[in-house]
Symmetry: C2
Subunit: 348 residues, 2 copies
Amino acid sequence: MAGTRRHGAGRGRPTLEEVAARAGVGRGTVSRVINGSPRVSDRTRTAVEQAVAELGYVPNRVARALAANRADAVALVIPEPETRLFAEPYFSDIIRGVGAELADTDLQLLLTLIRTPKERQRLADYLSAHRVDGVLLVSVHADDPLPDLLERIEMPAVLSGRRSAHESVPYVDSDNTGGAQSAVEHLIGRGRSTVATITGPLDMYVAQCRLEGYGAAVRAAGREVEPELVASADFTEEGGRRAMRQLLDQRPDLDGVFAASDVMAAGARQVLRESGRRVPDDVALVGFEDSAVARHMDPPLTSVRQATEEMGRAMVRVLLEEIEGLSDRTSKRPQMVLPTQLVRRESS
Amino acid sequence: MAGTRRHGAGRGRPTLEEVAARAGVGRGTVSRVINGSPRVSDRTRTAVEQAVAELGYVPNRVARALAANRADAVALVIPEPETRLFAEPYFSDIIRGVGAELADTDLQLLLTLIRTPKERQRLADYLSAHRVDGVLLVSVHADDPLPDLLERIEMPAVLSGRRSAHESVPYVDSDNTGGAQSAVEHLIGRGRSTVATITGPLDMYVAQCRLEGYGAAVRAAGREVEPELVASADFTEEGGRRAMRQLLDQRPDLDGVFAASDVMAAGARQVLRESGRRVPDDVALVGFEDSAVARHMDPPLTSVRQATEEMGRAMVRVLLEEIEGLSDRTSKRPQMVLPTQLVRRESS
DNA sequence: AGGTACTGTGGGAGCGCTCCCAGCGGTGAT
DNA sequence: ATCACCGCTGGGAGCGCTCCCACAGTACCT
């Protein structure tokens, strides 16, 4: 690798030392000014600042990182397969939120896509070597060893979403249960009497929560959850189609469907059309995620919006806290659940 | 900022020195083994490799970067506003491609979202300080100062897309002209006699190219480009709606529309429906990008697919070349155009 | 006057590498 | 035997910072 990689060009830039010489002070003093230490007299500070400006000095992060043994960087880890699965713009939104919140920090964002176990191992090595100050983990699976590894090496980390009801690692999640519940309540409120649901893979906590919300709404309306009205799929469009067919088979009389993702709703919508049913006249349909897909469906899909960008921001805030206050490991781990919001469109 | 950022934990990991001690060799030798230098005897190499394995040694990138004055990282720069504009999954695809190609490299991916001029300046400083080995620039505007700055400081860079017909910086682009042309040829081939186009903002080269392709196809069919059949918009859905209304106003008899983006096509589709026209029976519609939106429209939208992920990969390959062979700056700058492909669906 | 207690400051040491030069023993030509 | 040269090796110097100790200077007490 590496090989002839270019150097040289970076040399020649002013260093701390040169700034110090120009300002007529010592290295330590310049460092203090740069890092905003209060123990510097105003006269000195001004002199240093002037020298910095004149020389166009920019601190060398690498040297700083080596000396201080910190990285000034956080990693955002995304399992690559997920980027295909999730309906956009989930990841862009997370990334945007993370980027925004990181902007007024001097932390860098390292993006890591994991696609093979080998790459996961490489990442693990990398993280063990403490080359970042913290880690943001997006959509981890229950069996992912990374969170525990990070816990063990005391690397600050935040998850988007929980792996289970009693998640031990700090996380930011959206209110999947509440969102699903409000979606189904909405359906029932609009007079639908036979509301089915298409769930995600039930080994994923997020899918469990959304199903849970469905059940809560159904029971709140004084009804029972009928197994025949529940079909599970895998968050894909094809899965949505299959589940919808199954549902239609079992209960041709259904008049409402809550799909646990927009993409599955899109699949369901096709099957409904094929079966000659109109949306929303015959069957009302609601999705989850409020992605681009929802807005562009025909009719536009009612869906549960998550504050995805805000999740990204919140994750960074939580991570920052973890990084700062790493000492009190015993104290409460910050965990937060962001509200969702039903966006009504013509499909219901 | 910074403040109490945690350290310490990274210490205690084995260093080059310890590996050397354990293997009974000198520091330099271990370094040579690690970096795959050929000037090491097999005996020594084996001994070192064993010591590395036993100690679980992972080289410290930061120290390496400082000593070698290279960063082992490339930056992917994305103007934040664009992430909203473009129909997904454009960015995820680029990112995925970049990530994939970077995976078998020991380069890290630094993601930088630019949202304000201030942030752009910060990035410029950062880049001037040569803290990365190369830069990937996504969807730069013609007036963006970054490419020239990079040129000046001799920082390897690659653009996705060109700023103009005579782009001087290395780039990877997709064949916008050809793609648009084949879309329009398809429309004409299907017997459409009055084909209109909705363009992007014509100060963007990509929009010019797509319009160019439209014109080429029209002329190839022995017709003239009628100004009344061209409406320009801004790549947004609302823009697509407006342009479609204008087109319908000017030429109510049109029977085909090529929209230079799927999102604009989605807007156009709504207006067509409102005006009582059926797609494709009355008006055939084709988009560009082949995004999720296209697949989920009703009817599903014929669209021009770009090899977006492949663009990401290609960008990295080109960048790597630039980084390696930076010496021969005089030689040809690698520039490549990736083919597009028409994906036929029910809208045409 | 001497002590104590600050604030500000300079600069040595050291972070973990790479680079490079000198030095080793061995080989072949003179 | 002498010299040149080779492949391989060890380790000094140095990358640009931060950390921290020591010390000057001032101020305020006894």
